[in-house]
């Protein structure tokens, strides 16, 4: 009867800690509504993979030899082999995004680029703390404020910290409404935040909407070929949305595909949340660095807008720069709310949405650029 208590006697304190972490993620998902579609599966997965001799993981059983576990199999096929899950998710995200506000005011594209600075600043801090360049780059990409990109980059760069990076990326995305106001107030004055912006959108032709995803794919592919899978799948989803003849596919991509992949992605990522990998001092460092990346992103965006204001007659509200991160649409909502708090007539939503979707494009380009450059180092 010894086998009945074998599980209990094999428990380690690290595994119990992971159950608690899993419980906290489930609590945040349900009670605080923080990215529930990912934090809940990740939380439950963290419990599943940290049960001693868990059958969801590959293991060697006495008399049976090597036995495959479902979560290890999902991780190996769905993520490790071809990054299929995060990439397929991009088709759905592309189908969800309306690039109209960006196309009608294309200079907002620049804010998406500027706000990626947080990624690189965090890479340097991580390197200073002793991480090798692959791990530092994977940690920095948390600043892309884009879960699938973070997972994909850390996988391609073979980082040892995929689990903590995924947890940090999704947790901080949910915390954007808390992190960004703090970072924005840190580097703006009340006068800055009160700047009003006229909204005079250029009308966007159907041809432009159709050509945009194709042209972005070609340009990004030519300049940063490593970004092509990320950008290409995002833009493929957007082309399905804009073409007007694939409404049923567009709806499927936006709802069913995204739901299915999200459901599996969360629980699959938990394969990298085994106690022996997760309960380390580095995990704490990564959580801290992830927060820093979001703060750096927001500050870089704001400072870039202030810099542009030196040359512009019609000033830009610097808060728009902070919307250049990819956390869509949370960041745009934060900026709109902050604008209204300063002046009830200060409506910044459409400008912020434009900068925010630009951040979506720039973050996937950043992911590809990092993969390309680090691969050459």
């Amino acid at each position: 009867m010894e086998f009945l208590i074998e599980g209990i006697t094999s428990i380690t304190w690290q595994q119990i800690l992971m159950w608690i972490i899993g419980g906290v993620l489930i609590y945040l998902a349900i009670a605080k509504n923080m990215e529930p579609s990912l934090l809940l599966p990740m939380g439950f997965g963290a419990i599943l993979v940290n049960i001693p001799m868990s059958g969801v993981l590959n293991q060697t059983l006495e008399g049976m030899g090597e036995v495959s576990g479902i979560i290890d199999w999902l991780f190996s096929v769905g993520i490790e082999a071809s990054e299929m899950m995060p990439l397929l998710l991009f088709i759905g995200i592309g189908a969800m995004i309306d690039f109209g506000p960006l196309l009608s005011n294309p200079r907002l594209l620049l804010f998406g680029a500027a706000a990626q600075f947080g990624i690189f600043a965090t890479v340097t801090v991580a390197a200073l703390l002793g991480f090798n360049i692959q791990d530092a780059a994977s940690i920095g990409i948390i600043g892309a404020a884009d879960g699938p990109t973070s997972i994909l980059v850390s996988l391609v760069l073979k980082s040892n910290y995929i689990g903590p990076i995924a947890v940090a990326a999704y947790s901080y995305m949910a915390l954007v409404p808390i992190i960004q106001p703090f970072a924005i107030k840190f580097c703006t004055t009340k006068k800055d935040r009160k700047i009003k912006m006229k909204y005079n959108p250029k009308s966007v032709s159907r041809t432009t909407r159709l050509l945009f995803p194709i042209i972005v794919t070609i340009i990004a592919g030519l300049v940063a070929p490593a970004s092509i899978s990320l950008v290409g799948f995002l833009m493929f989803g957007n082309l399905i949305r804009e073409c007007g003849v694939l409404n049923s596919l567009s709806e499927t991509a936006q709802k069913d595909l995204v739901n299915l992949i999200t459901l599996l992605l969360g629980i699959t990522i938990s394969a990298s949340m085994r106690a022996e990998q997760f309960v380390t001092f580095e995990t704490l460092l990564i959580m801290g660095l992830g927060l820093l990346a979001f703060v750096f992103d927001s500050i870089a965006g704001v400072l870039f807008a202030k810099f542009l204001n030196l040359f512009l007659k019609e000033k830009i509200n610097p808060m728009i720069g902070a919307a250049g991160i990819s956390a869509f649409p949370m960041s745009a909502r934060v900026i709109q709310k902050m604008g209204l708090e300063e002046d009830s007539q200060n409506h910044l939503l459409m400008h912020a949405v434009g900068a925010n979707v630009s951040g979506q494009i720039a973050s996937v380009i950043a992911g590809g650029v990092i993969i390309g450059i680090v691969g050459l180092m």
Partner: protein
């Protein structure tokens, strides 16, 4: 200075330059598209 820190600074310079380059080219392409297709309003 640590080799990884030097690599990270190099990554910062090359990475931000590449991102801005791609975005500026996309920006130019969008401006051209908006001009060329201005008669074909949605």
């Amino acid at each position: 200075m640590n080799a990884n820190v030097i690599k990270s600074l190099k990554l910062m310079g090359m990475g931000m330059a590449a991102i801005f380059l791609v975005i500026i080219v996309i920006y130019a392409a969008v401006i051209i598209m908006l001009r060329v297709t201005s008669d074909d309003k949605k």
